[in-house]
Structures are given as structure tokens and as C-alpha cells.
Amino acid sequence: MPLSLLKYGLRRTYPVTGDIAATPDLKPHYDVGIIGGGGHGLACAHYLSSRHGIGSVAVLEKGYLAGGNTARNTTTIRSNYITPQSIAFYKEGVELYGEMAQELDFNVMFSQRGQLTLAHNDSTMRSFHLRAETGKFAGIRAEVVDAGDVRRLCPGLNMDEGGSLEIVGGLWHADGGTARHDAVAWGYAAQAARRGVEIHQRTEVLAIETAGGKATAVVTNRGRIACGQVLIACGGMNYDMGLKAGIEIPIRCYPLQAMVTQPVKPWLHTLVSSVSLHTYLVQSSRGEVVIGGGSDPYQLYATRSTLDMKEQLAAGAVHLFPFIGNLKILRQWAGITDMTPDYSPIMGASPLSNLWLDCGWGTWGFKATPVAGKRLAECIATGRVPDIIKPFALDRFASFSLVNEMGATAASH
């Protein structure tokens, strides 16, 4: 038993750490206003306060802390993308996850059990070769494996030999893993609050005031605050928030659903996803199996889940693991994903000189929480966009300098 538990147990009273500070009154001015109290906004607040000494920060969250996509995602962390630009960026994200528990003194349970993406045909294998080659060149662990390796890495898979969904190989990404999503947000929130960052829950941004090419103030349901700089990091509502500042961000929103089963004894060690079946599975350390897939095929802002998608995901899951038919679904849910044309995020400068964007996170935002927070804090503190996020600028769409990741996010996120 670790010492810290002994310390807890031997005390007479419960030692309160005080992770989440109560929402204080709004001040009239902050150096930085962060719109969105999810993982990204809180990470940025943490890095602003810990790396750049900027403590006059207000994080504005319309609901409860990290209750949007941070709470709804299925916690995949990986870096096996297609383009060198993406791989470099997400690689830094994975590395930051490795240090996160120590950095935040909060166990976010980052667990690199590896991610296995399955190929059911030659053309998928071809795309895996490209991802493996690009990944290896960029220094991540990604390799193409054959059917025998797949069997060893993930016992119990239905290989469907001779069938139309025969598993012919896979992409093995040993760096891939998961973390406890809520803990990531709470850890950042606790650290940021200790350095003076104010977290305002139930504080909805109603308007962004602009003048002379700058954002001057943010109007909330609890009052107006003047901000030296503003960051938009509010997930599914990014497009709408951009409009409030007069910026049209190329985003279309689609619901993304997932579901979770009752807990059973761990049998699935790796993250497994099938491109052809649009299904992925991961078993949490509670024993629950999380099942997800592709986005809904229509644009929508609703977070109601559907029976159809649940049936699809169940069919995919049972196809991959025929022995889990008796496993029972506990709950299903949906989030709103802000999709960009190239399936890559939009980070950095906006047409307003002091307003920064952390948008377009679509279905892949959780894994980027630390790196996006860190790099956007750098933008805000220095006024310069770091090289690693330059490829993800808003103006890439005008010049068609896209970072195309369409094939790498289809079912794995």
C-alpha cells in the first residue's frame, strides 16, 4: 500500500485537498478570458499560470466543469496519424500525458496499453503502411502487423477467415492508450486555481465585444468582463462562439455517440478499432467496455443518442468479439463534434489580434488536451505562434494548405 494511503487512513478527519475552487464573483477585468471550461481551456489556464506567470485568468464554463466533450469522449490517446505535421503535434501530446500525473500531482491514470487498428482488406493495409512509415520516421511507435500478430495482441478476436471481413492485419501503436478524462480536467483545474486562475462554472458567454480589430470584452450571464486576450475553446459550440466575435470558422457539427457496458473482469487489454466496421472497443480499469464508432451522418446540435447507432455499434462489437453477446449495455450518450474540412484542428491566431482559437477538435480533441493547452498558452503569453502548431492555422483553408487526416480518424478518433 502506498504511503499516501496510510497517511489518509491514519488521520482522524478526511484531509481535504480542495480540488475545485468554488465559483467566485466576476471581476471587471482579467488579463486572459478563456471561453470553455473543458480540458483544453483548463490546460491552457494551467500553463499560463505555471509556465508564463499569468494568473489573472478567468475560465468561463456555461455548465459544470468539463461537462461537455471532455466528459463525453472515450479517452483515446494516440499519435499514429498520417501527416508528419499531425504526428509531431500529437506525439508531443502523448509525451505530455506521460508526465501529467507528476506535473499535476493528480493521477490521471494514463495507461499506454497500446492501440490496435484492424485491417479487413488490402487497401486498409496499404494506408496502414503509410501511417506506420510516417510514424516511424517521426519517432513514434507504429508498425504494421500481420494476422498472427493481431491474434497474439488481442486474443478472442473473430478473424473471420475466408469471410468478407477477414482480419488480414493491423496497425499496432504501442504508444496508444487511455487516461481518466475527468481527472485530466480536474487536475488542471486544481493546479490552475492554486495559482490564482478563477474558474467560473454556470457562466455562459452571451457576446464578445470587439473594436479596432481586437476583442475588448466578454459579456456573460453573470456580468461583463474586459479581457486583455481571449481564447475560444468551447468544443461543440466553437462555431457559434466564433460568430459572436464576427469570425466564421469552417466547422460543421455532427453528433458522435458512444456507449458503455456493465463491468466485467478485464479481458480486453488493448484498444481495438475496426475501420471497416466503424467500431472500436476499450475496457476501462473499472471493467466496463466502452464502445464507439463513427459520427452520425447528419449535422446536428443535439446530444440525444439514437437506437440506430446503438444497434450498429452492438453489431460491430459482437462481430469482432462473438462471445460478448451477453454483455449488457449500461448507458449510451452523445457529444457534439466540431468537424473541419481536413479533420485537423484549428489553432492559433484569428482575424482579431488578441483573440486565439482552439477549435475544430471534432472527434479527436481529448488526446491533444495537454499539448493544445501548452501551445496556446505560449501563443497568448508571447503573442507568437509556435512552429509546431503553425500548420493548423485558420488561414490554411484559404490557401488549401490542408493537413489532411480524413483517413486516420474515421473510427479511431
Partner: protein, 946 residues
């Protein structure tokens, strides 16, 4: 045995004995028993160990409101013993035990509880080394995770799916649901009555007083237009009244015009120290065990009073011969209730139960400081409306500060009736059911009689509540049995700053277990309200999400057949020994195995095409017919190439871009008549092409029809120097000579008696004829060709030879040699893009991209030495100054040229023939390649145009 004689046990058939085992012990039950009732009858009061502390647990609700009754049955985990009928031969065991249920080594965790405060795992397990969590702690914790065990050899019956439609769906067949269903059906509505239990009447099935409900049941069973579905669980509400009703392995997808939820109430447990001991159970469980299953629940009982229903519990216990030691009344009881209890001479103690004790079974309860010996306690602290389904439908559960609960904000076609609304008096419940039915009938426009106003509940039943008190200093006062959460855990979570109910849920996991808060939501809300100095009305409960109860993956998955497509010639390929492989949804011949190794067989097929003649099944190609006066103009908009000016009988290459100016598809267009075009698309893209054409046609409103003939037509490509000789041997109404049928011409013809669309096009660079005909006649055409073939050494060839042949000729494959960013210029297709058209899809973007210049080009590559698949292959990177400039998109060792060839994206400056590029081999080594023109074979096109 704890069995009571008849008339106890309305559900069991004593004539049918069932044998089963529990924890290796051989036991008996009766047909009609659930696993739980059979265990109780056998004196097995402990059925499980808890999730975290491994505490002994017994039956609590029998309604799926807690995880205590979850057991392993054979290879099936997490079977709810309270809801699952007993079957003969069942092998039942406890879950999540290290050792046995009786002796669980992990029960030591219960002793260590003080060292494991709520959320402890967030504060520790981070050392001693950097990756200690991954290497040391997580594996330990994972070993302790989960409840039941999956077996990789387990199988399951396939789920079936049924679609039902109705005017009114009534969920719950207690008195309110019955009254509603009958009222609606009497007026001619199509009604489905859905009931989870095996019989109608709801809670009256285990009550002493029947209120003459039998006549309603009889009427429900005889009314036409009323479909009774017992043993059926309504497990969710989805947009537009789309509800899953699950009975056994069948999922009924129901579309209802109106829905009435008459799902009643959920009993809530009381919170005190050791409130989880086996022997403490919901009052409803006591009554069910006695009346449904004839099980005597103990010898001495304590009853926690929760309103008038207490009397029925007392009666059930007395009838079963259980002595009642005390009735504990935490709140004043009604005069009727008190009179009755006094008449029975029962001691009524005003106060709360403070603590329980016992070793794996209740032995005494402490009330007002005094210990009362008992081995069973009927514990209902109060009720909660069963809120999940109404809340999924959009209603909001409103909590009053006094514990009262009601709903607001129903969508117009959803209603609730009966106990769920707060009614408890029998007549009021019936009236409310009729009222809901009348409201539905009016909305449906069915003959509605007089207006019935909504009677307000006489009492506020949800206010009656033995609410949890302050945390017991010694803990073990459980709020959530599933997750082993005590009052202090929630208090501590609030102290840590998790003040919103959703954050408390996420930090403590309250309500996240198998029962999803059914027995914990109300208590949790109160504790959070109290700890945050807010009112109950400000706290509320967390979002109710589907499913309402657990639901098996197999039932949802149904008969998960995978869509597979076979061409009309599939059987012929198989007969010829083809190795069939899936391509998209299609099965295609990959190579025809002749006994030779695969690589040799492929090379032989290539050779046959180059030197003789080969036959490829191209039926999977997309085939579209575009018809109408605007057909030419439409194609001119859809494709970057020109088609409006195409002459009749001409075949032209067609290149399609998306709105980003990237290449999306290619194919050919044959103009059949002035107004009719026959268009091909690639196998993988045709669905998208057809969808896009339909989309744009709707946008542009042109006078055009687009018909997708992909599945209706088959295609054969006859290619090689001897192709003409083969065709000339067939009966035909056209000539295949070059003057009569030159390259890039198309004709409607009859060949071997089969109407055919013939085109002089190919993908191999050889003399080629592509013949398309109706699928029903493809085999006739195929056989005719095959018969004529041997004289000319005709050989069928497969996909892999086709891919090599086209690579030798430098033809690209859309999707393989292109990606989402590929422009026509990069691919060397700039020539195909029309300069004269004012508009086509992608033109504006393409022009903008042309202004910024090209970053990369697709180039042919040759290599000095031979290379194996482990050295070089598709996906290998092209490097330039230490950075990625592109990658190999196609690679093969050409049988014709005897050397490796490839297509690759290279930097624009390196794209000129003769330039050298460096590639990163699979093993990381650097390999040099020389840029060649696109066509490695016959660059002058001497062969295909003869």
C-alpha cells in the same frame, strides 16, 4: 426449505421441480421461480459480494434496482437473479470473489476501507517510478476490476427484430396502465400494452387487496385492437416516439403516435450503518417472496414504515408466519394505518433505524439506541417516480425541497399516468389512467368523450421519506450499493469542490453502477444539497440516458449480416479456382490458382494479357445512366472534362473533382444518344458519385435523370493482342475491325445473342474491348467468350494482375494513387481539365490552388536493383533534405519488364524523368530511385490503339 404452502406462491408450479447449483451446492426450485426466489427458498440469503469492499450482499429489490442480485450463470456474467427465470440445470455462482462467496479473500479490503477514501486513486499510485501506474498499479487494480467473467468460448442466440406501429403505447400494466390501455382500445385506438413482469396488474400481483382488478385484466385480454406484451421491457425512448421493447431475444422497434408511461414508483432504501447486510430488503421484495414465490423470509422481522403500504407488508409477513418485532416509523403514519397496527398489537416505534449488525446475515437493528433482534427487515425509506423513461423523452424531474417529486416539460405526445404521477389511492390511479387515455384519444382525433380534468394527487407520496442523516462516524452507511459508496464519500466529494451533482457523480461514481442510480439518486441529491447548503430543488438528479435497464449486445446486434456483393459470374470464377477477395462490399477474383505459387500465377496472368488475351470481370465498376435533355450540360457541371460536345458513339475519359478541387473519381463517358450517356465510376466511389449527382441534380434542378445500373449490369474486359480474334469468332451484328470499331468508340451491339454495350477502352494498355450487358445475361456472354477462347489461349485474370498491368502502363487508381488533396495537375491530368467551361464542380478551388503552385507530383519510379516486399512497398516515404516529400502509392515488380516499378508522390522539383529521389525502405535504409515517365510500358500507346 423456506417454502410456504399454497396459496402462497402465485408464480410457481410445484409440480415442476427444477434442479440447479449455486456455488457448487445442488439446490432445487420450481418452475416459475426466479434464480433469486429459488435461492431464498433454499436459505441462500447471501448471493454476492460488493464491487469494491467485497462485503456480503443479499437480495434487495428483485426489480433490477441494485446490483446485489447479479450472479454468474454458466458463461454469462452479470445475470440479475431477481429478474431471471430459473431453468433446469443452471450453474449459478457468485461473482467478483477471490476464493468463494463464503470465504472471499478480498473481503480484507473492507477492513482497509479507511485507507481507501473516495477518489483515493486520483491521489496515489503515481510512484515510485515514472511509469509506476502502467507497470505496477494499474495491472493490480485491473485484476480487481469488474463483476462477472466473460468466457471466450461463450455463444449467444441471435437477436430478432420486429417492427410494430400503434396509436398508443402504454408502458406498465398496473392499474393505471390497464385502465389507460382499455380506455384507448375501447375507442378504437390501436394499443400496445407493455409489461415487464410475466403477468398484468403490476404491484397488485403481490398485494393482499385486489380491488376487483381481475375484471379489467379479463377485458384487456379480450379487447380487439389491444396487444398485450408481458415479459417485455421498454428500455428507452428515442426521438419521435421510437421505442425499443425487448422480450427475450427479440427487439421490437415500436413507432407509437402517443406514449403513456405508467411505470410506477421505485422503492428507496434507508441509509444507516450496515444497511447492506443480507436480510435487509425492500418491502416489495418481502411481499413478492411471500406471495409470488411462497418463500418465508425469516423468523423475526422489523418493518420500516413507508406510508399505507406498510400494512400490506405487515400482513404478508404475518400470513407467512414471520413474527414482527417492531414497526419503525420515521415519519407520522396515517390514522388508518396506526389504527390497524394497534389492532394487530404491533409495537410501533417512532424513530429511525440507526444501525444494523450481523455476520453475513442480519441479526439485530438498533432503533432509538435499543437493539432489536431480527433476521429480516422490510426496508423502504420512501419512493421515487420511475423517472428514466419520462426524462429520456424530454421531461424534467422536479424535486421539491420536501422530497416531493414531479415532472414538467413533456413533449406533446408523451404522458404519464398512475403512481408515477404521485397517485396512490386505487380509484385515483384508475381515473388517472383513463384521463391519460382520453388525452391521447383527443390528440389522435378518435372519438373522445367528455373532458376529464387531471385530478391532483391526494397526498404527496414522494415526500414521505426516511431521508439519509449525517454520515455515520464509523461509515458503512451505504448510499449506493453497486459502487459501495457511503454518506461520507459524497460529503467528502463536495468538500473537495465537486459541488454539482454531475461532478459528485463523476468523482464518487455514485449512480454509475449497473442500477444507474435507481436506488441512490434521491439520497445522493439530498446529501449533496445538504453538503453544499443548497436546497434539494437546486440539486436535482443527473441526466437519465438510455437504456432504462441493462440490454444485451446480442439483442441489439440482431442478425448482423455483413453486406456482400457477388457479380453474376461469381460461380464461374470459383469454378476456375479463383482466390476470391473482398473489395469494398464485393467479392472479386484476386488470382486464379493453377497449382503454381501465387506470385507465379499472377505473373502468368500478366504474361497472358501481354502476349495473348485475358478476360477480367469488371462488373463491380460503377455504371450510371444519365438521361434527359440536360444530360450533357449536367455532366459538364459534374466533371472537369468536356462531355456536352461529345459525339454520339464516342467514349471519353471523365475526371471528377470535389468542391476542394481534389480528384474524387474517374471513369469513362459513352454518349449513346443525344440525350443518353453511359457513365462508369470506380468500384469504391460509385456510391458517393451517385449520391453527389443526386444531390447536385436536386440543387440545379436540371432536366436529367440519373440511374444507378451498377448492380443491374455486368462488365467483361477482353484485353490483349488477340482480343479481336476472340470476338471475331462470336456471332455479332458489329465488326470489331479497327476501321469499323476504333479506339475510344462505343457501340450498342448484339454479341452471341446478348445485347451489349461495347467500348474500346482498357486499363492494361493492350487492345481491349469492354462489354457491358444485363446481369441476367452475363453468364451467356461469358460462356460464349470462354468457348471461343481456347483457340487463342484466352486466360481469365484477377485483380492483382490487373493492378500490375495498369501500373506497367502508368494508369492511376483513384484512392490508392490519390488522396484527399490530389489535384489533376499533380497527377499529370491537367490536360483533362476543361479550359472552356465556365463552371464545373471544383473549378473555383482548382484555380485558386493553381495560383499557389504545386508542392508534389505523382511520378513513375524505377530502381536499379530488384527489391522484395520487405524492402520496398506502398507507403514507403520519399525523403528530401531529411523531410517527407511524399510516399510510394503503388509498387510492384513488373513481370513484363522484369524490374521493380512504382508510382510515388515526389517533390515538384524532382518530378522530371531522370531525376533521382531517395526513399526510406521498410527497414529504414535509404534506397535510390530514378524518376521515369508515367508509362513504364509502351509509352507511345502503340498497342492499345491498333
Amino acid at each position: 426449505m423456506n417454502r410456504l404452502p399454497p396459496p402462497f406462491g402465485s408464480r410457481i408450479d410445484r409440480a415442476q421441480r427444477l434442479h440447479f447449483s449455486f456455488e457448487g451446492r445442488k439446490l432445487e426450485g420450481f418452475a416459475g421461480d426466479t434464480i433469486a426466489s429459488a435461492l431464498a427458498a433454499s436459505g441462500e440469503w447471501q448471493v454476492s459480494r460488493s464491487f469494491k469492499y467485497h462485503r456480503p450482499r443479499g437480495l434487495h429489490s428483485l426489480t433490477g434496482s441494485d446490483a446485489n442480485a447479479l450472479v454468474q450463470v454458466g458463461d454469462e456474467p452479470n445475470v440479475d437473479a431477481g429478474l431471471t427465470p430459473l431453468r433446469d440445470g443452471m450453474v449459478v455462482s457468485a461473482q467478483n470473489v477471490n476464493g468463494s462467496l463464503a470465504h472471499d479473500r478480498d473481503s480484507v479490503i473492507d477492513k482497509l476501507g479507511r485507507f481507501l477514501p473516495v477518489g483515493f486513486y486520483y491521489r496515489t499510485f503515481m510512484g515510485p517510478t515514472h511509469n509506476a501506474w502502467l507497470k505496477l498499479w494499474e495491472p493490480l487494480i485491473r485484476r480487481k476490476a469488474g463483476l462477472g467473467r466473460l468466457h471466450m468460448t461463450a455463444s449467444h442466440p441471435h437477436g430478432d427484430t420486429v417492427h410494430l406501429h400503434c396509436d398508443v403505447l402504454v408502458v406498465g400494466c398496473g392499474p393505471a396502465g390497464l385502465a389507460a390501455g382499455i380506455e384507448a382500445a375501447r375507442s378504437g385506438a390501436d394499443v400496445i400494452l407493455c409489461e415487464a413482469e410475466p403477468e398484468l396488474s403490476g404491484s397488485l400481483t403481490f398485494a393482499a387487496e385486489q380491488h376487483g382488478l381481475a375484471s379489467l385484466v379479463a377485458e384487456a385480454q379480450s379487447l380487439p385492437g389491444l396487444r398485450l406484451m408481458t415479459g417485455t421491457v421498454c428500455n428507452g425512448w428515442f426521438e419521435d416516439n421510437w421505442l425499443p421493447l425487448i422480450r427475450g431475444n427479440t427487439l421490437h422497434r415500436v413507432r407509437a403516435r402517443r406514449v403513456i408511461f405508467a411505470t410506477g414508483v421505485l422503492e428507496q432504501p434507508a441509509v444507516f450503518r450496515n444497511n447492506d447486510l443480507p436480510g435487509l430488503m425492500a418491502a416489495g421484495t418481502v411481499r413478492r417472496l411471500v406471495r409470488h414465490y411462497g418463500v418465508k423470509t425469516g423468523t423475526t422481522a422489523v418493518v420500516l414504515a413507508a406510508g399505507d403500504e406498510t400494512l400490506d407488508t405487515v400482513r404478508a409477513l404475518q400470513e407467512a408466519g414471520v413474527q414482527i418485532a417492531a414497526v419503525v416509523a420515521p415519519q407520522p403514519l396515517s390514522a388508518t394505518c396506526m389504527d390497524e397496527l394497534r389492532r394487530e398489537g404491533l409495537p410501533v416505534i417512532d424513530g429511525r433505524i440507526e444501525e444494523a449488525r450481523g455476520n453475513k446475515r442480519l441479526s439485530a437493528l438498533r432503533v432509538g439506541g435499543r437493539w432489536i433482534d431480527c433476521d429480516v427487515a422490510a426496508i423502504t425509506a420512501g419512493y421515487m417516480p420511475s423517472w428514466q423513461l419520462p426524462c429520456q423523452a424530454g421531461a424534467r424531474l422536479v424535486c421539491g425541497d420536501d422530497g416531493e417529486m414531479s415532472f414538467t416539460g413533456f413533449p406533446p405526445d408523451v404522458d404519464i399516468a398512475g403512481g408515477i404521477t404521485g397517485h396512490s389511492a386505487h380509484e385515483a390511479v384508475l381515473a388517472d389512467g383513463r384521463r391519460a387515455a382520453q388525452a391521447a384519444l383527443r390528440a389522435l382525433g378518435l372519438a373522445a368523450r367528455e373532458e376529464i380534468s387531471r385530478p391532483s394527487p391526494a397526498s404527496k407520496p414522494f415526500r414521505f421519506w426516511d431521508a439519509p442523516g449525517e454520515p455515520d462516524p464509523r461509515g458503512r452507511d451505504f448510499v449506493d450499493f453497486d459502487e459501495d459508496l457511503q454518506v461520507k464519500d459524497l460529503v467528502h466529494a463536495v468538500q473537495e469542490g465537486y459541488r454539482e451533482i454531475e461532478l459528485v457523480k463523476r468523482f464518487t461514481t455514485v449512480g454509475m453502477g449497473p442500477s444507474q442510480g435507481r436506488h441512490s439518486a434521491k439520497a445522493a441529491a439530498l446529501i449533496v444539497a445538504r453538503s453544499t447548503a443548497r436546497r434539494l430543488s437546486q440539486t436535482g438528479v443527473t441526466t437519465a440516458r438510455p437504456p432504462a435497464g441493462p440490454e444485451k449486445l446480442s439483442v441489439l446486434a440482431g442478425h448482423h449480416t455483413v453486406t456482400e456483393r457477388r457479380t453474376a459470374l461469381h460461380a464461374a470464377h470459383v469454378q476456375l479456382g479463383a482466390e476470391m477477395r473482398p473489395v469494398g462490399n464485393w467479392w472479386r477474383p484476386y488470382v486464379y490458382r493453377t497449382g503454381a505459387p501465387r506470385e507465379e500465377a499472377i505473373a502468368a496472368e500478366v504474361k497472358a494479357v501481354r502476349e495473348g488475351v485475358g478476360l477480367l470481370d469488371v462488373s463491380t465498376l460503377g455504371k450510371l445512366e444519365v438521361r434527359g435533355p440536360d444530360a450533357g450540360a449536367f455532366l459538364d457541371r459534374m466533371y472537369a472534362t468536356n462531355h456536352g460536345n461529345q459525339s454520339i458513339g464516342r467514349v471519353r475519359y471523365a475526371l471528377m473533382l470535389n468542391e476542394m478541387g481534389s480528384v474524387m473519381d474517374d471513369g469513362v463517358v459513352l454518349r449513346l444518344t443525344e440525350d443518353t450517356f453511359y457513365v462508369t465510376a470506380t468500384t469504391g466511389a460509385v456510391a458517393r458519385v451517385y449520391a453527389d449527382m443526386s444531390f447536385w441534380n436536386a440543387q440545379w434542378r436540371m432536366n436529367v435523370d440519373v440511374l444507378n445500373l451498377t448492380g443491374a449490369f455486368c462488365g467483361l474486359n477482353l484485353t490483349g493482342p488477340k482480343a479481336r480474334a476472340v470476338l471475331s469468332g462470336l456471332s455479332s451484328d458489329i465488326s470489331f475491325e479497327p476501321e469499323a470499331f476504333p479506339y475510344l468508340q462505343g457501340k450498342s451491339a448484339t454479341i452471341a445473342g446478348v445485347p451489349v454495350r461495347a467500348m474500346r477502352i482498357g486499363f492494361t494498355g493492350e487492345l481491349s474491348y469492354e462489354l457491358h450487358c444485363a446481369g441476367s445475361q452475363a453468364m451467356t456472354l461469358y460462356k460464349a467468350i470462354a468457348q471461343a477462347g481456347p483457340a487463342h489461349d484466352l486466360k481469365p485474370y484477377g485483380l492483382e494482375a490487373s493492378r500490375i498491368l495498369r501500373l506497367e502502363k502508368g494508369h492511376i487508381l483513384i484512392g490508392q494513387d490519390t488522396d484527399a488533396m490530389s489535384t489533376p495537375d499533380e497527377l499529370g491530368f491537367g490536360w483533362a481539365v476543361s479550359k472552356r467551361k465556365a463552371f464545373f464542380v471544383g473549378k473555383r478551388s482548382l484555380e485558386a490552388r493553381r495560383r499557389t503552385g504545386l508542392q508534389r507530383k505523382l511520378a513513375g519510379l524505377t530502381f536499379a536493383a530488384s527489391l522484395g516486399p520487405n524492402d520496398m512497398g506502398e507507403g514507403c516515404l520519399v525523403l528530401r533534405n531529411g523531410e517527407v516529400a511524399g510516399h510510394v502509392t503503388s509498387f510492384a515488380t513488373s513481370p513484363t519488364l522484369g524490374k521493380p516499378i512504382a508510382l510515388a508522390h515526389v517533390h515538384t522539383d524532382d518530378a522530371k524523368p531522370g531525376a533521382t529521389v531517395s526513399l526510406r525502405a521498410r527497414n529504414g535504409a535509404t534506397i535510390a530511385a530514378t524518376v521515369a515517365g508515367h508509362a513504364f510500358f509502351d509509352p507511345q500507346n502503340l498497342r492499345q490503339e491498333i
